[in-house]
């Protein structure tokens, strides 16, 4: 009876309980029942339970062996327990989550000190699989879990910090640097052409599709990453790119616990770049002047105080960054109620002057067990973020563009504004306003009701509120108008949404060996967004930025907008397990989205997965001592994507932008509404193996998958003669094949010393399988210098497409080719007079051909472009794929070493084999604008006179010879290895900690981005590309910080 009871409790509690706590909670519930049973002949025993470092273990279960779990208790907040045991004595089984179980013989009534060893890996951990949980040993899909302990070592401010390098197949790009910025997370590579469609689905405490922007990483109890489609399919729609399930912390049954943490971080400019100094600027000016058709060098007047500075702009614009991070949490529980409350406040002052962000996150989690059958849960979270969003283009990029001899200050000490068309980056940083504050709140209420044994009904509702406000203002000092003019705007946005879910969980075991689980549910959700903006100019006062200050309202930039969408779903799952040896899971989900055509609202998604624990077979018995557990997994699943415009399926007439002669026109937009629009489908096949060696000391997981997207939601160009530019269609397909490997090990484990290691490696190869029209160019397809990408059948996303530079013509006569377009070598006599051509050392007397650009013959000092088309013109037929922005592989190694009270954790991560387009350097070196100074290398190495051998073209030819078109000069290797996180913690021995009335106290030193090995020349090779069709272009970003900090953690 007790055994059955325990099972019931298990299913009751498990749904919203996190893996680490589950067993504990189960035991607690069990104990509550058990202690009510009294015994006649018994004695009292006392004891304490500690870990290897002497810290008390709270809530460890102590059970009298042989009592069938009936007699036992839990340790209190000091790790102590006392227990009635039968007089005759016996054994105590002591266990706690994350520790190995021990059995102790009791002898009389003395106090027993019990030390538990930390367990190495655990197959009994609970994994959240979507509307339910599963033991890790029964999981059939490719799921990786990240624990609170792993996250704790990171001092994470964002989810990206918390997850980077933690799981194979999880590509986390961290934009650390700018206050309030985060980065991007992608699971198993992109599968479609929109960035929204490539983002994973977040499920936070059961709320599907929640925003991960506001999660406080220190509130996270566990993160479960559902990578394969069979695992994600229960979330059908939007799960095409994997699911990240986040479960937040919950209090435990004991006295309230208070946890305080404070961290102060100093941030330094990790990589300072060399810039042309004033002398080099003048050298360049002379070069400009000396050239035919060159621009008048200018702005070097030695008597003009405006042009006689020699600034180190990076020094002037940056500072020591300071970040304070405060955390406080309070948790606990009693018989019927459990709670967890937390507050985090981050005050971040970034590297660039006047860049800052403030962040406040509040969370309250409450579980209330109303009766044996009913449980209520509440999750409330609130986020506030306030930041000054520094304009990188006008600050940090400007520092490289602006000549270093231009004055930053006027003789009277005030800052200059525009000088010769170039902004003063200091003035911009200090005076430009771009304040953005945002409030968001999520309230979640859930009821669980146990109808009968094994059958549970869960229903919940979530309300979401998000409000943002942006105030922009550019004062007169920053104006380029004549006369000077200020301008600004204030924008509001609001997003509200709700989500309702109801589902049934059923589980039953038949004939002991056959266990079945079932799930059937329904969900609906709706989101509504509204926004408004008012723009004005001629503010009468530059400190009052409300729009009553504006002298003129700009109607073209003053408007409001609104949109909404809704989703509804029915879903079900059936699971079967035979003795844990053979496991099967199958799901069906039917999703409806308001975004599709009326006939195609619904999409059906199926999946199936099997797992075989081959180590349970008798023929594997010989390996038992080494191979503790081995499982082979096979899965197939379908998921969907609906990340398109809310109304792409409707032909619409719009207004507000078609004014003429005082009348507001009404017209269809440039995109044609397609009523046949339907779901994009994603099918994924996964084969994986999980191996556990040496009782959990070593674990290996490896997966291979093929992910295919069909009916791609593609913005197809329409013939412009229809009056439209494009139409959203379901056409084309995309395929990603990938391999993942991860390893969990505890190479050393002695009494005092322990070394844990996590390593992972991911390889992804995505190709466009089918594309209507075969190919198209994304980004720059003209003669400009920015990057262009070729998207084509058989190609990869991120294929840079431009012209290959082979060098620079040394002489005018060097532009000479034979009939097959092989280069000829000009020969000159001693006095430099041209004599004729040779080829491979032999005189050449055939026809001589030359290359042209838009009618202009290329000369000495022009770039030698690879003549792909083999004709006399360098034009768009000569483009080729120059490189790819996607890595060959990425991976990470995370080490945690602990010795007594010390623990050292450090993470190396790498991204390897990707190319980047250094558009920041290109923008400096294209000679296009008189007052943008190239990099020193260009100034020194530009072609000057006939005979110069160099790779830098002559400085006056901006765009007559096509030298500045997108070319391979700016393709750089983006590979890097980084020591990304380090934390050294010292935890006071428990005895000492207690003397100062704390449960435990630790101090730590923290560092991030400490060392980076890379050949990439601009600030940093790691950054997010917003558009999956335009990967890897560095336009000059907020520089990354190198952080070092000190922290203190107190636990009462």
């Amino acid at each position: 009876m007790q055994k059955i009871n325990l099972k019931r409790q298990n299913s009751l509690w498990s749904h919203f309980k996190e893996k680490k706590q589950v067993r504990q909670l189960v035991m607690m519930a069990c104990m509550l029942l058990a202690v009510t049973i009294s015994y006649g002949q018994s004695i009292q025993v006392h004891g304490t339970v500690q870990d290897e470092t002497g810290v008390a273990i709270v809530g460890a279960s102590v059970i009298v062996s042989g009592s069938g779990g009936k007699t036992g208790t839990l340790t209190d907040s000091t790790g102590a327990f006392s227990l009635q045991i039968p007089e005759k004595g016996g054994s105590l089984e002591v266990s706690a989550v994350g520790y190995e179980k021990v059995i102790i013989k009791t002898m009389g009534t003395q106090s027993i000190p019990i030390v538990l060893k930390a367990a190495a890996g655990s197959l009994d951990e609970i994994v959240v699989i979507g509307y339910s949980t599963q033991k890790k040993r029964d999981v059939t899909g490719a799921i990786t879990s990240v624990t609170a302990k792993q996250i704790e070592e990171r001092q994470a401010v964002t989810l990206e910090d918390a997850l980077q390098g933690q799981a194979a197949g999880l590509m986390v790009i961290n934009n650390a640097g700018e206050p309030g910025e985060s980065g991007s997370i992608q699971i198993r590579g992109g599968s479609t052409f929109s960035s929204a469609g490539n983002a994973p689905l977040y499920v936070i405490d059961g709320v599907v599709g929640a925003s991960a922007d506001n999660i406080n990483p220190s509130d996270i109890e566990s993160v479960d990453v559902l990578k394969d489609a069979a695992s994600g399919a229960i979330y059908g729609s939007r799960a095409a790119n994997g699911v990240i399930i986040i479960t937040t912390k919950m209090g435990m049954l004991n006295k309230p616990q208070v946890n305080l943490n404070y961290l102060h971080n100093f941030g330094y400019l990790a990589h300072k770049l060399r810039q042309a100094n004033a002398t080099e600027v003048r050298l360049y000016r002379n070069e400009q002047k000396s050239n035919l058709n060159g621009t008048a060098g200018g702005s070097t007047d030695s008597l003009n105080p405006g042009f006689n500075a020699d600034n180190d702009y990076q020094d002037a614009l940056t500072r020591l960054a300071n970040k304070d991070q405060y955390d406080i949490s309070l948790s606990g529980g009693s018989k019927n109620i459990k709670y967890y409350n937390s507050v985090r406040y981050v005050d971040d002052k970034g590297l660039i002057l006047n860049s800052w962000a403030k962040l406040l996150q509040i969370r309250t989690n409450i579980d209330f067990q109303a009766s044996k059958k009913i449980k209520f849960s509440t999750r409330f979270s609130f986020g506030y973020r306030d930041r000054n969003n520094i304009n990188e283009g006008n600050t940090i990029n400007q520092t490289f563009q602006r000549p270093t001899n231009f004055a930053l200050y006027l003789p009277d000490g005030s800052l200059t504004g525009y000088v010769s068309g170039r902004r003063n980056p200091l003035s911009v940083a200090l005076y430009e306003v771009n304040l953005n504050d945002r409030y968001s709140a999520t309230l979640f209420q859930q009821m669980e009701y146990n109808i009968v044994r094994g059958l549970k009904f869960t229903t919940n509702i979530t309300a979401d509120y998000d409000e943002g406000r942006t105030v922009k203002f550019s004062p007169k000092i920053l104006s380029s108008n004549n006369p000077l003019k200020n301008s600004g705007s204030e924008a509001w946005s609001r997003s509200i949404g709700w989500q309702y879910q109801a589902y049934l969980n059923y589980n039953k075991t038949i004939a002991k060996d056959h266990s079945f689980t079932g799930l059937l549910g329904f969900s609906a959700e709706k989101t509504q967004r509204n926004n408004s903006i008012i723009s004005g100019t001629d503010y009468v006062n530059e400190h009052i930025l409300t729009l009553n200050s504006a002298g003129t309202i700009v109607p073209a930039k003053t408007n409001t907008g609104a949109s909404g969408n809704s989703l509804a779903s029915i879903f079900g799952r059936i699971g079967y397990s035979y003795l844990g040896k053979y496991n099967f899971n199958g799901t069906v989900r039917r999703d409806g989205s308001s975004r599709f055509g009326k006939q195609n609202i619904w999409g059906n998604f199926y999946s199936g997965a099997v797992a075989w624990r081959f180590t349970s077979e008798h023929f594997m018995d010989w390996a038992k001592n080494i191979l503790t557990d081995g499982k082979l997994r096979l899965s197939y699943g379908q998921t969907g994507n609906e990340s398109i415009g809310n109304y792409d399926a409707i032909q619409r007439y719009g207004f507000g932008s078609y004014f003429y002669n005082g009348v507001s026109g009404i017209a269809t937009g440039s995109s044609f509404g397609n009523p046949t629009l339907s779901w994009e489908n994603n099918t994924q096949k996964n084969i994986g193996i999980d191996l556990t060696f040496l009782k959990g000391r070593l674990g290996i997981t490896s997966d291979y998958y093929i992910k295919t997207t069909t009916d791609l939601l593609y913005n197809q160009p329409l013939p412009v003669e229809t009056g439209f530019n494009s139409v959203r269609v379901n056409l084309g397909s995309f395929e990603t094949k990938g391999f993942e490997f991860s390893l969990n090990a505890t190479p050393v484990q002695t009494k005092d010393f322990r070394w844990d290691l996590i390593a992972n490696l991911s390889v992804e190869r995505g190709r466009v399988k089918q594309l209507p029209g075969g190919s198209f160019i994304s980004g720059n397809s003209g003669s400009g210098g920015g990057a262009g990408w070729l998207i084509r059948e058989g190609g990869r996303l991120g294929d840079f497409y431009g012209w290959k530079a082979l060098g620079v013509y040394a002489y005018d006569e060097s532009n000479a080719y034979d009939d097959n377009w092989n280069r000829l070598d000009p020969v000159f006599d001693g006095s430099g007079v041209f004599q004729g051509y040779t080829q491979n050392g032999k005189p050449y007397n055939g026809d001589v051909h030359s290359l042209y650009n838009t009618g202009v013959k290329l000369r000495g000092g022009d770039i030698i472009f690879d003549n792909v088309a083999k004709d006399s013109v360098i034009d768009d037929n000569d483009r080729q794929v120059l490189g790819n922005a996607q890595p060959s592989f990425y991976g990470a190694i995370i080490n945690t070493l602990s010795y007594k009270g010390f623990s050292l954790s450090f993470t190396f991560n790498t991204t390897w084999g990707n190319d980047l387009y250094n558009n920041a350097a290109q923008a400096l070196n294209n000679y296009r604008t008189t007052h943008i100074i190239p990099q020193p290398y260009v100034i020194y190495n530009a072609w000057r006179r006939p005979g110069d051998i160099t790779d830098v073209p002559e400085v006056s030819r901006k765009n007559t010879s096509g030298n500045m078109r997108m070319n391979s000069r700016y393709i750089e290797d983006g590979s890097f290895i980084r020591l990304s996180y380090v934390r050294l913690t010292y935890k006071l021995p428990a005895a000492i900690a207690r003397t100062i009335f704390t449960r435990d106290l630790s101090v730590y030193v923290y560092g991030s981005n400490l060392i980076t090995w890379t050949n990439y020349s601009w600030f940093d090779p790691e950054f997010t590309s917003n558009d999956p069709l335009q990967l890897g272009q560095d336009n000059g970003r907020y520089p990354r910080r190198r952080e070092v900090g000190l922290g203190l953690n107190i636990h009462f």
């Binding site: 059937l520 032909q651 619409r652 007439y653 005082g662 009618g855």
Partner: protein
């Protein structure tokens, strides 16, 4: 088991309840196609959208189409060689006809729906008012096709809106002559429907339609028809040559003049700035184009020609600021930022037609009339009249008229079409291009292949329609 069954049924029932209705989301800032074209106000909005399409067409590109390839301009350091060195390619700016087809589609939608407004929703609507709207839609469609056929030659012909995803959107090019016939037929239909008393200078009025008819006839070298259209235009008694003193008003306040026939309205506060200003003169950026030396020299050497100082900025040493479309400042000329520039581009004005009238006379061997019309414009510019003896031949008269057109209509997108129409592209541009090629140290081939008179079709436009073929030799 019973509980399981009932609970499951309950879940499924909840899922099935009213889902399709729940999932019916309608746009909140736009309207569906069935909710439009129901009132006269809707028609007015539909018409505004057509003209707005012309703003898209000409707001950035008219200088490229009508002036950049001629002896009016040279480029400065921020421009490109494509237009000024006859080196266009499928990626050059100005090679897309998309904006014209945007106008055509909006006009087609209007032509289809305007009659339905009366038939279905407003039976009492005055037929004459409705006809005048229709006439503008026909006129707009004709005008857009006229530009297309002059720039690219043959082009796909759409005379009904594209409304159904199942309709094949790819159409091959229709012969230039057929397009031109459609243009002419549309214009005649438009004239018949239009009300001479309606409209203003920013709209397609009866006058504008006659101007278009005259222009098209000139292009077809049908001088008789051109003359008829001119006479009908003058018979409207609406237009007269603007006096010398207020010549500038034709460009900055056409409504106040009697010389402007059809100008493009612009209001940057609602439409954003006319981006053409960034090519020819804006306060916050350098221009792409500079005044060709021949023009610069003529105007600086003939200060009595009142057009010079009101057309180009003599104070700018780079020769790259064109002030024609901005009010004259006191002292140094002030240019608006390109995002705040209004350019009231004159599509037709009387001086244009008077000079065409002179051409007709010259072609009809009536040099006296030709001289008369030429001198009206010439003298208006503050210059002394030509004598008949100045032009001993038909050819010299033609050249004088074209030269007058170049100066009078400078940067109004007329010169290129004058050269093409009169077959003078190679004759005029060869020496200019040779000099420029020499400057680039490239072989002096002049204009080169005459097929390059037609523009290339933009690469993206070609790619989007599988049935399109590029103009040779591009």
């Amino acid at each position: 088991m019973k509980q399981l069954f009932f609970a499951s049924m309950a879940i499924l029932l909840m899922g099935a309840m009213g889902c399709n209705k729940f999932l019916n989301e309608q746009p909140q800032t736009e309207i569906g196609e069935t909710e439009f074209w129901r009132s006269e106000a809707d028609i007015q909005s539909g018409m505004a959208a057509i003209y707005d399409g012309f703003q898209d067409c000409f707001g950035n590109d008219y200088v490229l189409w009508g002036d950049a390839r001629t002896d009016e301009v040279w480029r400065n350091q921020y421009g490109v060689d494509d237009h000024v060195l006859n080196a266009l390619s499928a990626t050059s700016s100005g090679t897309s006809w998309a904006n014209f087809y945007e106008v055509i589609n909006r006009a087609n939608v209007a032509i289809k729906n305007i009659p339905l407004v009366k038939a279905k929703y407003v039976p009492g609507m005055d037929q004459a008012v409705l006809n005048h709207y229709l006439s503008q839609a026909y006129g707009a469609r004709a005008f857009a096709y006229y530009w297309i056929v002059r720039l690219w030659g043959a082009a796909p012909l759409w005379t009904a809106p594209y409304e159904n995803i199942n309709e094949d959107p790819d159409r091959p090019r229709t012969e230039a002559a057929v397009i031109l016939d459609t243009v002419y037929a549309d214009l005649q239909k438009a004239v018949a429907l239009s009300d001479p008393k309606s409209g203003n200078v920013f709209e397609i009025t009866t006058g504008a339609l006659y101007a278009m008819l005259m222009d098209v006839s000139m292009w077809k070298k049908d001088y008789g028809s051109a003359l008829q259209s001119f006479d009908k235009l003058m018979a409207l008694n609406k237009y007269s040559i603007e006096p010398t003193a207020t010549w500038k008003n034709l460009f900055i306040d056409p409504r106040s003049t009697k010389g402007a026939i059809w100008s493009l309205d612009w209001d940057w506060t609602v439409d954003g700035g006319a981006s053409i200003s960034a090519l020819i003169g804006a306060g916050d950026t350098n221009s792409d184009f500079a005044v060709e030396d021949s023009v610069w020299n003529y105007f600086t050497q003939h200060p009595m020609d009142i057009r010079g100082a009101q057309t180009i900025d003599f104070d700018v040493t780079n020769h790259d600021k064109f002030n024609k479309f901005y009010p004259k400042s006191v002292g140094k000329q002030v240019y608006p930022n390109h995002k705040e520039a209004n350019v009231l581009f004159p599509l037709y004005r009387l001086a244009d037609l008077f000079l065409l009238r002179a051409e007709i006379a010259n072609q009809q061997n009536d040099p006296a009339t030709a001289l008369q019309y030429l001198n009206i414009i010439h003298e208006r510019a503050g210059l002394t009249a030509y004598f008949a003896t100045d032009f001993p031949s038909k050819a010299t008269m033609e050249n004088a008229i074209l030269e007058e057109r170049k100066l009078e209509l400078y940067m109004e997108a007329k010169r290129w079409f004058d050269l093409v129409r009169t077959g003078k592209v190679v004759e005029v541009m060869d020496p200019v291009l040779k000099a420029r090629q020499a400057l680039r140290m490239s072989p002096e081939i002049g204009f080169g292949d005459k097929r390059k008179i037609l523009w290339p079709i933009n690469r993206n436009v070609l790619n989007a329609n599988i049935k399109l073929e590029q103009n040779p030799p591009y």
